[in-house]
Symmetry: C2
């Protein structure tokens, strides 16, 4: 059967998108790894009735555990602990030891930040955060808010509710303690581990893959396959129990065979990882020369720890003068063919390589929009050049979408071009 959980993410700021939800997907992934199936993530605003309705829906849908994130702060719109206590029929009482512990944390934090603190406001906030529902377990605070494990009422069966704070930096360290709490261990007694494997293709349309999946339908029993097309990259994620390992191996071999030309990885590695792994393994260094993407490629190349082994420098040469002074792109070349041209992309890449002294370099110049396009050089036109130890490749693309889309997709395209100059 397996165990199932439901997640409730609270916060009007998350519901309206002012803050992206980093907890729902993270918790879903942690639960999956722990062998717990996630039914859904419900995002609700800071409104008592909506939170109660979500808890009720999940409890009725028969999940074994409910997890909430957020709404444990000191302000009046932070209502989660109180609502969950009411839902489980367990009134809150002040835990004096916890109150003292929180007061100590707040004092240390305020001193460290040099904040002036109103003692009365702080005491009220601390008291609020130290209210514990009757019979609930306390998860030690990472920030100032403790987590809670609140069992179902004694007179009604139902899932326990794990109440976690909203800031990811507090929620994540608290999670292992929640999972290890005796009431949670009992609730998730039926969990069973699932494997998850990811295959990535680059340049295969989703409809082609759909046809392949239909053709091999009989061999795919026991595999839960989901596909997702993102910026030209087709991601195939498969989940399966231990009994379906052979079916998965066969599926992976089929894809690797039928899509050899577009296969990026069968081990889940992204283009970012493939490029930086190759640079590290071959002991090569790289430099970037970016105009329209202005630092996005340099930032992605240093996303992973240890990146000083491959990235020497990134030059975001936004103005024409910067292209000339920092990269040595001849001013008369820019005047003749324009900054957005194959010639300038090549001169940027070659200039970055010689100025920085790297083995590999990339030049990107384009029109991110929304203004600045012409009939000849429309918004979305981007010229790329990658130079490596053995070869140089220039490419031109017309990228659709918003300014943000053009900048992000151009960055991804540049990584694929680097991979091409590094591959035989």
């Amino acid at each position: 059967m397996g165990s199932r959980a439901g997640i409730v993410v609270t916060g009007t700021e998350v519901l309206t998108g002012r803050v992206g939800d980093r907890n729902g997907p993270w918790l879903a992934e942690q639960l999956r790894v722990a062998g717990v199936d996630v039914a859904n993530v419900i995002v609700v605003g800071d409104r008592p009735d909506d939170l109660r309705a979500a808890l009720d829906f999940l409890a009725r849908s028969g999940v074994d555990l409910i997890i909430t994130s957020g709404g444990l702060g000191p302000t009046a719109d932070d209502l989660t602990a109180e609502i969950v206590a009411g839902f489980q029929g367990r009134p809150g009482a002040l835990d004096a030891a916890l109150e003292q512990q929180i007061a100590g944390i707040v004092a240390r934090l305020s001193a460290g930040r040099g904040w002036r603190v109103d003692p009365e406001a702080t005491a009220a906030a601390t008291r609020k955060q130290a209210l514990v529902p009757a019979g609930a377990g306390v998860l030690a605070p990472v920030g100032t808010a403790p987590g809670l494990v609140v069992p179902a009422p004694d007179d009604r069966p139902g899932p326990p509710v794990v109440v976690l704070p909203g800031p990811p930096g507090e929620l994540r360290p608290m999670w292992p303690h929640a999972l290890a709490h005796p009431a949670v261990v009992v609730a998730l007694a039926d969990r069973e581990e699932l494997h998850q494997r990811t295959i990535r293709l680059w340049g295969t349309p989703e409809s082609e893959l759909a046809a392949t999946l239909r053709a091999h339908d009989a061999e795919l029993a026991g595999l839960e396959i989901t596909t997702c097309l993102r910026d030209g990259e087709l991601e195939i994620v498969t989940r399966f129990g231990p009994a379906a390992q052979a079916a998965y191996d066969g599926f992976e071999a089929t894809i690797a065979d039928e899509y050899a030309a577009t296969l990026l990885s069968t081990d889940g590695r992204t283009i970012d990882q493939l490029v930086t792994d190759t640079l590290r393994e071959r002991g090569l260094t790289i430099a970037t020369a970016e105009s329209c993407t202005s630092g996005l490629l340099a930032a992605r190349l240093t996303d992973r720890p240890g990146s000083s082994a491959w990235l020497l420098a990134g030059l975001a040469t936004y103005s024409n003068a910067a292209k000339t002074e920092l990269l040595g792109v001849p001013a008369d070349l820019i005047a003749r063919v324009g900054a957005v041209s194959e010639e300038v992309a090549i001169a940027m890449a070659e200039g970055a390589r010689s100025r920085v002294g790297s083995d590999v370099a990339v030049g990107i110049t384009g029109i991110a929009g929304p203004d600045g396009g012409t009939p000849d050089k429309p918004v979305g036109l981007v010229h790329f050049c990658a130079v490596g130890p053995d070869r140089r490749i220039a490419r031109k693309l017309r990228i659709p979408g918003s300014r943000d889309d053009v900048r992000k997709r151009a960055t991804t395209q540049a990584l694929h071009l680097v991979r091409a100059v590094l591959t035989d």
Copy 2:
């Protein structure tokens, strides 16, 4: 009373966090602007029972409209149209004209991308996407998938379901047509516009603000206030109907008065907007010299259109040699005090300003981690320097969190430092 809507975002890739949900928050915001209250956003995987349960929950909770996103693609895990048709008791039938329209779009798309296409696979995918539930309205496709407006069954009252595609580039242009569809207009007859205003503070603890809100509780009737602390920035968002305008004006004046020292903006502008607005208004140019943030600041400074007016160049000088060669930071200085030091941050900022010829420059050097820390210079230690036309400020911070957190927060801190050198 007002109208209420519920949103269902489908996709195992969203539920597990492989793809961030860009549709739920966006739709919630659009609905809010249109005067529709959003009860919740439910994320479900590509599983028929979970999607059905979410639809059932929302219909029972009394919302006036349900909106789904995703699951309209050509693969077998794209089930939304079929499930919604079943839920509303309206079996799908092939719409021949729509099939022809989609086939034309697919042919143009494939030709443009130079993809080889299997005609049989394409025809099957097209047929699937051209199935329309009986009595449903069709929203013209932006990509290949049409949207649907599926009314409740004739024999049971309930909300209509608007079915939209998952890719934001398809969903967003389709939304105005969905909102204007007669069945949707009828369902949302009670909508009434709400105002939303945002105030930002920098360096005020949330508990202080909570005390202020409590003290002024009686004057805040009719205001729905939510607060959110993010990277040191306290965001106060208030929603209110036209009748509460005076209450809001009073609240804004109270905050501006009590928190004059930490007030960032009362018009919702972020630190990014404040800095780039100031640069543009004063006709000043900027250059960046980044080590641990490696391009993130240059990317943020060019996020807005027209950024070539202020950013001349960004130098991500990751290696020590790059700091020396590109910025003129003396090699013996780095050898003596280390790359992560106030002296080097200053030399980076001054070097960027003189090499690029900008009015303003920023230097950032720190240890993003997770490795590379020492007792003297722990992970999270970041030195900043901003130089402007009138002054220079250096600052040192110890930033908590992951590598990603340190890099992002250091970028935000650098923007605040630029604001400081630009302000009297």
